[in-house]
Symmetry: C2
């Protein structure tokens, strides 16, 4: 009898993490001699700890295939980081107990940096706790900050969404600038690295195109220089569009979003940095402004996913299972870029120990010297990641996303485990 597999989604979900789930489950199903049932953790690793497992074999082939075009985490995700084995041995012992009860020999963990760390710890259980288990990490994060991989599935689709939105809003503002709105500010995700902010820049094809100014978390905010730049842009082009990272820092390294407004109830950070920057421009220059904060809309926007991103998300899921079947442990399928244009890539094996707890930063030479734009090198890197469209099916005018049955596996262990 082949042993079963555990699959879980972790951290913030994306437009394509379910495409990875689809890759994992379809590939496992294609190898019934090697892998038994794929059990999914309900709400990520919490599902393993609480023995709340979903039997994916009860889902139809059509529904599993539909995961490829469905955003979000079909089995639920969580923000929960396992501590080290020394600190929290009971958690690891519990995992082994659950895995043993359900004859789980493969552990697939789909997430970003924190999850890679968890997966790496689980990969050591085999040796340290004497339980035979292969742990493979499936990369995912809109933040694009995992090392050893050309990009992280999830990022390309957010990049396509923010660049499209910036272009569309830019066209809008250009139409209105004569008598109305002159400034438009869009706040985007990416607290520690400016990858998503940089992606806004793809909307510009030539001098003067939106976005006119990008505010990266890597470049401390300089109010005077920024305001001068906005003024010069409006004087030259009649309007100004700004893309700003939620993680913009002031000169003291403090998060700008936290230094801003207080709401009617006295809570900080009612408005994000987007409205704050827009209001600053209005206060200093008097221009009429609009602002947008896309928030979850950007990372859930499966309707405008990048085909490249969807293909890569599926490919890392598929490769993870193939690596497991090949007997690997403590690895992550990584995307290797073979050429920029045309974009060619394949999947290689990255050692998990080198992935966990390493953040891939934006190279300084991806940001222009003045700090407000992206360089050609950055554009060469980003451009292929948003290539291709992959529209979901539509029904009644709306994307038709699948909801799985998510039927729980009967518990085999007595008692409850408190998380």
């Amino acid at each position: 009898m082949p042993r079963n597999a555990f699959y879980a989604q972790s951290g913030g979900v994306t437009a394509v993490i379910n495409a990875s789930a689809c890759g994992v489950i379809e590939t496992a199903r294609a190898h019934p001699d090697k892998i038994g049932t794929v059990f999914a953790g309900r709400n990520g690793i919490i599902g393993a700890l609480t023995e709340d497992l979903i039997d994916t074999s009860l889902e139809s082939a059509a529904d599993i295939a539909a995961l490829r075009t469905t955003p979000s985490g079909a089995f639920g995700s969580c923000r929960y980081k396992l501590k080290s084995l020394d600190e929290h041995r009971a958690q690891y012992e519990r995992l082994i107990e659950v895995f043993k009860a359900h004859d789980i020999g493969y552990f697939f963990y789909n997430g970003g940096g924190d999850s890679a760390d968890t997966c790496n710890k689980v990969s050591q259980l085999s040796a340290t706790l004497g339980y035979p288990l292969q742990a493979i990490h499936v990369p995912k994060t809109v933040d694009n900050d995992l090392p050893l991989t050309d990009t992280c599935p999830g990022f390309g689709s957010v990049a396509k969404y923010v660049a499209t939105s910036m272009r569309e809003a830019g066209f809008d503002v250009a139409s209105m600038a004569r008598t109305s709105t002159k400034v438009f500010v869009m706040e985007v995700m990416g607290r520690h690295a400016g990858w998503i902010t940089a992606a806004c820049g793809l909307a510009a094809e030539k001098e003067g195109d939106p976005p006119h100014i990008l505010l990266f978390p890597e470049i401390p905010f300089d109010e005077e220089s920024f305001i001068a730049r906005v003024k010069a842009t409006v004087e030259k082009y009649d309007y100004c569009t700004v893309g700003v990272s939620e993680g913009l820092l002031d000169k003291e390294g403090k998060l700008m979003a936290e230094t801003g407004s207080r709401d009617a109830f006295g809570h900080a950070q009612l408005g994000g940095i987007g409205p704050q920057i827009a209001a600053l421009i209005n206060a200093k220059l008097g221009y009429k402004y609009h602002w947008a904060v896309a928030d979850y809309l950007q990372r859930a926007a499966r309707h405008i996913a990048s085909k490249t991103d969807v293909d890569q998300a599926y490919a890392v899921g598929k490769a993870a299972v193939e690596m497991a079947i090949a007997g690997k442990n403590a690895v992550m399928p990584a995307i290797r870029r073979l050429s920029d244009n045309p974009y060619k890539w394949d999947i290689v094996e990255a050692p998990l120990a080198q992935v966990a707890n390493v953040e891939k930063k934006m190279p300084r030479d991806f940001i222009t010297a003045d700090g407000y734009g992206i360089t050609d090198a950055c554009r060469r890197y980003l451009a292929p990641l948003i290539e291709g469209e992959d529209a979901p099916p539509y029904k009644n005018g709306l994307p038709d996303y699948v909801r799985l049955k998510n039927i729980a596996v009967a518990k085999k262990l007595p008692g409850e485990f408190k998380i």
Copy 2:
């Protein structure tokens, strides 16, 4: 020699107002014996007043065709309302002067309620100032508040965008609710009428689907009842999604967005009502929240336009020219609904005098008795308006929108006109 036409875009632009421009220009070009050149006003009616006319005959057929898939106002729009003839006779005389200089016999004005009023005034010039001119209004507004027409071009695409975004964000929050975000609030446009707020409701197909609560400008905000509703929703479904109109009013009829926060510079209305509602929920119930304000993204989102909307936008532009050729004045092509399902419609003639300054409100029976949702009658009305997809062409992974050459016609009048 056939007389020339003037065409201008007015007020807030939309994802499909250029499809109407396309309908006007292509139809005029198809009747060279009846209509000479179509001159577009640069920045709306201001272009007429300042004799800043764009010669659309210098644009290629391919570029004019591409207007059908390009959002925003290709010739520039404006927020500028002509006063009455009594109040500002000089403006009307100036219009006549410019029209006479360029032999303009047809006036096509593409806008919402204010523009219909302007167009109606211009339609009277023929009689009052003795200049032969036919004025036809081309309906447009995301607010969906023009009377005598089943819907307003521009609205269907915003409706499709907000319903899609609500569904996608709803899937996202559902994935995260176990350990992270439990509440998601999305602020949408529509200051005076809840049509766009109502459209969010199309995302829900069955009990429990997002959005769980809608806050309409028609229903004064009741904090206690709202908070109780959020609590009950989270307890039942583990998360709660809210769509809120930017025009939400408090019990005294005051705009909630203006009663909220002040920014670091002391300005009111830094955050909109979206973040305000999210913060209120957090203050009262402690749930972790996210919020989005789509702002211009929603009305510029040509990438997810409704095919029905695009078709209607083109049709009203085409019909406007046909009405002009038929000798009509002071009319507006209106959309008449013939059946709900399948949606059938045709174009009829509406007298402009009955359109100007009349706001179509949402019927009370489109909102559920409790004030937080839409009724089946509302759903029947809205559903067909978002039907069909009409993707723009893509290039390098992004929608490929056209920028016209917009070459100015040589001025024939001496001096400048101050607006």
